[in-house]
């Protein structure tokens, strides 16, 4: 069989093209052959000048105007076919030698060589030897001696081509003349033309007769062939018709078919230009006949020796090629399928090869790519059966051609086939909800089994063909696309074949097809807080204002409306500052993957990427940071990574993996390489628009004394020094420090002025700013238990990470950039933001357990003991020494006249492992009452209570007296509001007033509480303050009224006997106490004791009252009245009518006579007549007609016996 056959093949003159002389360099040979190849068709009209009619031409109907002679160049010659007598077109009818003169200086030698070469072609009717590029000397002596060498003088291409044309026309003319000669001779002589089909042995007599009969038909057919070659189809047709008739008569089926085939060729040649359906039907009809006849000529007996099947198949192919159009696809397919079936009966393997090649080509031109690929693969398999490198190369090439149909093509050849989801108009933008069908279409024609086989075959053939790059590429495609279908052993085998291929490649070879690992974009780390970029508005002085970090919320309703089209993220990089991109690598295979280097690929050319070396264990994925430095201002695009793995450099595009993952999510692809490696769900990361801006200043901070977190106890006050350095290349001209994050109020002060005075901060400049910090109180929400470090075992709380406040520093370089003045005016280089977390780790310090308000009314007995204890420890101040003598923890309330004591008891525990010392101080500012009257004379005193030491894991109670907080006057103006507040439940009081009252009350409580300070010290340098406000407030809430407000009346008893009448007034508490203390020793039984009761009115109104005094013994019995009264009295003791002026005292004298020595208690009580509202409220009376009863504190009287 012959390749590339068509119906017109019968009209082509075969010319062997042989290179002669020295080896011609490939480019030259190629160009010579190309020059020759342009002249496959020589018009008869153009050769008439070379043609001379020697005798009457047998081609009587030669179409000199329209006809043409066709050449078919057989490069390198061809061996003679046994069938060449049957079809003259198979004969080599001319030989052309090609000679490159520079490599073959001796033209004689060339001539000899050519002559020898021509001898192999016995049917050659014309020979020519073209010698190109001859030297001058060759030109000189060449012409005259050798006619058969034609020298092409060196000239330009056009001239040479013209020269060639002339030569070919000459050749065509001489061939035509030879044909005429041949035909004339053939008509006269009577040689029998035989085919291998006829028996080759000596002809028997009857066979000889039969052959003689057939001779005429065969001769006519051969003449017809030559007419066809000579370009005269009409003549040919006439001869063929005769031959057909004769062959039919003689039953020479084979030659009948041959003649019929020739006649179809003649018809087609004759009616070259108009293809009409009638002609087509005629051709079809005749050709089906031809095929039929060939099939009939198949003789079973000599089928082993020679077979006509190839002619049948060729005829089928010829017809198929003729009909090869979409409309006739069905017919063509049938022809081709039957031809394919015929392959079984072909003996020669190369015939089968040719058949499959032709079938594949025809299917290909029909548009049946998959069919073509199928037969191409058959071809490749036939090639692979031959065991030589050339066949392997052919197999590889053929398989490579099929790779498109099987969708396993190399990326190099299919740049536009790989679609991105964006091209479907559905990006990640709409929440990753790509339309499922469009995803499906991404993975069209994924026949994994077939694809794997094809790739494996490509790999095998390219290994055999010695093409390492093709082998690598096929191996890479196989491994990357089909790793889930390959056994672990197979995967390792592929990996080693990749490495083997790479060994034969020069280092640094690039391949378009990526292998492993799979790489997807993980994230673009936004600017670390160190290097935030803030757009700067040149008009605004505080350009940072709008851009404050929005705290924990992503969306704040107060921020300006963001641009609606936020689908595409914007990213700004700065020239010269390294950036990082996180990518995730996955190695889903079962071998260790060593990535020699991986770096970002940037096609924009303004980015220097740093390679990284990664090793991926089997079935793992890894997130790595790839870094680089932008080098020039402009846009940067990062479509993927460049990977050097398995010895070859490849580019891995993120987009491809994204598509793969999309498919995997829908179950269209075998497996998701990342999920199989245990990685998390894919994130949809869009590649942002990255732009590079000119250099900006860069502030770098570190905490002086180490960047570790500072450990402080709750409430501790500490200075932190922060050093700021400009690490950029641009000076900092503006800077502003702000606060952000949690626990902002724990920062007490920041030295703004230090920073401002350091501006402008030159590159490399450094400034250190102190920040004073008071550790915040740990709450349950933002603390965690740290059980590990504590030796004592019980967990202690430390502040959770991230609860520290952040220092936010905005800074910017010069606002006008002198370099790019040509830019548009609005280009103010952006400022930046540096966020310095104040790394404070707050440890739980002293723990406040609870606060209680202790209220006591001590009898006098207590007064004996307690003042003594405390008196010794008090801290005296000079100015107040006299008063302070008694100004200790327990003393007599000047207004109550008794040992009324209210203490705030704080229970503190120390869960830490250090010792704390607690110091309570009550700071009383110099407080003037609103009436201009000094309240207490002990303002500003810091009560020097003893420091309480609390050991680790112990608790302690600290008592704080609450006595100094009484208001001096039960004031209506103050109290009137309170009245409203109290009655507010029923009354229609406006809510604002009510709120005012509450606020006032609260503020007074706060005022009280804020005076109490509990400070602590621990170790050498830890000190702070305990925050007890809340606790105190709750403790005091209930009884704050009682603490703050004095009773309307205070009662005091005084001895007035023996001329020791005290002259001091009741508003000196010390004196009263003194009196009482003194009184003890002097009261004896059986003695008239003169006493005075002093009643002070603490209100601003006149109070009328009826007073009564009672005396009780230790048993609580009234010992004045009753049957067995033990005390006699003089004066009035009950229902004494008295009237006290506002803020004045009244005195009432009486005398007592104690019959029995012992302890007595004196009690004064008064019923206030015509009580005002203020008093009623104070007394918390319910109804207005209820008597207001005011009782004094009891006074103890110690009566000693006389004996």
């Amino acid at each position: 069989m012959e390749p590339d056959v068509s119906i017109e093949t019968g009209s082509m003159i075969r010319i062997a093209v042989l290179p002669v002389g020295g080896a011609i360099p490939h480019p030259q040979l190629r160009s010579y052959v190309a020059m020759l190849g342009r002249h496959t068709r020589i018009d008869l009209s153009s050769i008439s000048s070379f043609y001379s009619e020697h005798q009457k031409s047998p081609f009587t109907h030669q179409p000199w105007e329209t006809g043409s002679i066709r050449f078919k160049f057989m490069l390198g010659g061809a061996t003679a076919s046994p069938w060449e007598d049957f079809q003259s077109c198979r004969k080599i009818l001319a030989v052309i030698g090609l000679c490159h003169c520079p490599v073959s200086p001796d033209l004689d030698l060339v001539a000899d060589q050519f002559t020898t070469a021509c001898k192999a072609y016995q049917h050659a009717l014309a020979t020519r030897c073209f010698a190109f590029c001859p030297s001058d000397s060759q030109l000189e002596d060449g012409d005259n001696k050798r006619e058969n060498i034609i020298l092409f003088p060196p000239s330009d291409q056009k001239t040479q081509e013209f020269h060639m044309l002339t030569m070919m026309q000459d050749l065509a003319a001489s061939l035509l003349m030879q044909f005429e000669k041949w035909v004339l001779r053939a008509e006269s002589s009577g040689t029998i033309v035989k085919t291998p089909l006829d028996s080759q042995s000596s002809l028997g007599s009857e066979e000889f007769i039969k052959a003689k009969k057939r001779k005429l038909a065969r001769a006519q057919k051969t003449i017809g062939d030559f007419c066809l070659l000579a370009g005269s189809p009409v003549d040919a047709n006439a001869h063929y018709s005769t031959a057909i008739e004769l062959a039919r008569l003689t039953g020479d089926v084979f030659w009948h078919a041959g003649a019929l085939e020739g006649s179809v060729c003649a018809i087609l040649l004759d009616r070259m230009d108009h293809k009409d359906p009638v002609l087509e039907d005629e051709v079809k009809f005749r050709y089906y006949n031809v095929i039929q006849l060939y099939r009939r000529s198949y003789l079973q007996d000599n089928a082993q020796r020679v077979s006509t099947v190839s002619f049948e198949l060729e005829a089928a192919l010829k017809l198929a090629r003729y009909l090869c159009r979409r409309e006739l696809a069905k017919e063509v397919v049938e022809l081709l399928m039957s031809a394919a079936d015929g392959a079984k009966s072909l003996i020669d393997a190369s015939d089968r090869l040719i058949l499959y090649v032709e079938i594949a080509r025809l299917f290909g031109s029909l548009g049946y790519q998959r069919k073509a690929a199928f037969f191409s693969r058959q071809v490749a398999q036939l090639y692979l059966q031959q065991d030589n490198a050339c066949a392997a190369i052919s197999a590889m090439q053929v398989l490579t051609m099929t790779s498109n149909a099987y969708h396993v093509q190399s990326k190099r050849s299919s740049q536009k086939i790989s679609l991105s989801p964006q091209e479907f108009g559905v990006g990640h933008a709409d929440g990753g909800k790509t339309h499922p069908l469009s995803i499906v279409s991404l993975f069209e024609s994924q026949w994994s089994t077939i694809q794997m086989v094809v790739l494996r075959e490509i790999l095998m053939s390219s290994v055999r063909a010695g093409d390492p790059l093709a082998a690598w590429s096929a191996g890479a495609r196989l491994l990357r696309s089909f790793y889930p279908l390959i056994t672990p052993a197979g995967q390792s085998g592929l990996a080693s074949s990749l490495s083997n291929s790479a060994e034969r490649l020069p280092s640094g070879t690039r391949c378009a097809d990526p292998a492993l690992p799979f790489i997807r974009l993980h994230s673009f780390p936004l600017h670390p807080s160190q290097t935030d970029i803030i757009k700067r508005n040149s008009q605004k002085r505080e350009w940072w204002a709008g851009s404050a970090p929005s705290g924990p919320f992503i969306y704040t309703p107060f921020s300006k409306g963001v641009v609606a089209d936020s689908t595409k993220q914007e990213l700004t990089w700065i020239v010269g500052e390294p950036v990082q991109v996180l990518v995730e690598l996955a190695n889903p295979c079962s071998f260790d993957l060593m990535v020699e280097s991986i770096y970002l690929s940037a096609h924009s050319g303004n980015f220097d990427a740093f390679p990284v070396r990664v090793s991926l264990p089997p079935n793992t994925s890894k997130v790595i940071a790839l870094s680089g430095i932008p080098t020039k201002v402009g846009a940067v695009s990062i479509p993927g990574c460049i990977v050097h793995c398995f010895g070859v450099i490849t580019e891995h595009l993120f987009r491809d993996v994204d598509n793969l993952l999309l498919g995997a999510a829908q179950g269209l692809v075998l497996s998701d390489p990342f999920r199989s490696c245990g990685s998390t769900k894919p994130k949809n990361v869009t590649i942002p628009n990255i732009s590079v801006v000119p250099p900006l200043p860069l502030l770098v901070s570190h905490v002086v004394g180490g960047n570790g977190s500072t450990i402080v106890y709750e409430g501790e006050i500490r200075d932190i020094w922060i050093s700021l350095t400009n690490a950029g290349t641009v000076p900092i001209e503006q800077a502003h420090i702000g606060l952000s994050g949690k626990n902002q109020d724990s920062v007490i002060s920041i030295a703004h002025d230090v920073l401002l005075s350091a501006l402008p901060l030159k590159p490399g400049g450094e400034v250190t700013i102190p920040v004073a910090l008071k550790a915040w109180q740990l709450s349950l929400a933002d603390s965690e238990f740290d059980a590990s470090k504590n030796p004592s075992g019980n967990a202690r709380r430390i502040s959770r990470e991230g609860s520290s406040p952040l220092l936010v520093i905005y800074y910017a370089g010069p606002s006008t950039n002198s370099n790019n003045s040509n830019d548009t005016g609005n280009s103010v280089p952006p400022g930046r933001r540096l966020v310095v977390p104040l790394n404070v780790s707050v440890l739980q310090g002293l723990r406040f357990v609870r606060a209680r308000l202790l209220s006591m009314e001590f009898p006098a007995r207590v007064s004996e003991a307690l003042p003594k204890q405390i008196n010794g420890e008090k801290v005296t101040t000079d100015e107040m020494s006299a008063v302070n003598r008694n100004d200790s923890l327990v003393r007599i309330d000047p207004y109550k006249g008794s040992w009324e004591l209210r203490l705030l008891e704080l229970e503190l525990s120390n869960p830490t492992d250090v010792v704390f010392e607690v110091n309570v101080s009550v700071q009383l500012e110099s407080q003037q009452s609103e009436h201009g009257m000094p309240i207490f004379s002990n303002e500003g005193i810091d009560f020097g209570y003893r420091k309480t030491r609390i050991d680790r894991d112990y608790s302690a109670r600290v008592l704080i007296p609450l006595e100094h907080f009484k208001l001096p006057v039960l004031d209506a103006s103050f109290f009137s509001k309170d009245t409203q507040f109290n009655n507010g439940l029923g009354d229609a009081v406006s809510s604002t007033a009510e709120r005012n009252v509450k606020a006032e009350l609260n503020s007074s409580i706060n005022n009280l509480i804020s005076k109490i300070k509990v400070t602590w010290h621990s170790g050498r340098n830890s000190s702070g303050e305990l925050n007890i406000k809340d606790a105190t407030q709750t403790a005091l809430q209930a009884s704050v009224m009682d603490i703050l407000l004095p009773d309307p009346l205070t009662f005091g008893f005084r001895l007035a006997t023996n001329g020791r009448e005290s002259t001091t007034s009741g508003n000196s508490p010390g004196q009263s106490v003194g009196n009482i203390a003194r009184a003890k020793g002097f009261i004896s039984a059986h003695e008239m004791t003169h006493m005075e009761i002093i009643i002070r009115n603490n209100t601003r109104e006149r109070i009328r009252m009826s007073l009564s005094v009672s005396c009780r013994d230790v048993a609580g019995e009234n010992c004045i009245e009753g049957t067995n009264a033990t005390v006699l009295w003089a004066g009035i003791l009950s229902d004494i009518y008295l009237e006290a002026l506002p803020l004045q005292e009244v005195t009432h004298s009486f005398a007592l006579y104690f019959l029995v020595p012992g302890e007595y208690t004196l009690l004064a009580a008064a019923v206030i007549n015509d009580a005002t509202d203020v008093l009623r409220v104070r007394a918390k009376s319910i109804s207005s007609d209820e008597p207001i009863f005011c009782r004094g504190s009891p006074f103890h009287v110690h009566v000693i016996g006389t004996a």
Binding site: K330, D341, K371, F374, F375, L437, V440, S445, Q666
Partner: protein, 135 residues
């Protein structure tokens, strides 16, 4: 039952969504691959043929050596392709029709994305049973 038979369902996007070797002959991997190649190649012819006829069952559309490809095209242009060496056309037709009913049941599954692989083992069992019955 046919000695060699390979059944494949090809989605409208030309992806094989179900494949089964249903022949009684010993299974060989190379043969199975070859079957797929033949069926894949036949798609071109099916593509043309499907639009020339209203029938769903296209009978045998292609052959290679002694293997014949019979095709059934559903209304959704999903192609059932059977590679076989027997000539029992009626049985093949019944096979295809019953498989289509199974396929429709698969399609009715709201969790099944049309055009993706059929992984139901129930479907597989049923198809093989049908193959034993009709081929």
């Amino acid at each position: 039952m046919a000695s060699t038979a390979c059944f494949i369902i090809v989605s409208r996007n030309d992806i094989p969504i179900y494949e089964a070797e249903v022949g009684s002959a010993a299974k060989k991997e190379e043969a199975a691959q070859q079957h797929q190649f033949i069926l894949h190649a036949a798609l071109d012819i099916v593509e043309d043929l499907a639009w020339t006829t209203g029938a769903m069952f296209l009978k045998s559309v292609d052959k290679f050596n002694d293997l014949v490809v019979s095709v059934y095209v559903t209304a959704g242009h999903t192609r059932f392709m059977l590679l076989h060496d027997s000539r029992n056309e009626d049985g093949i037709k019944s096979f295809f029709q019953e498989v289509q009913e199974l396929y429709i049941k698969i399609l009715l599954n709201p969790l099944y994305l049309p055009g993706s692989r059929i992984t139901s083992s129930h479907f597989d069992t049923k198809v093989r049973a049908l193959a034993r019955k009709y081929l």
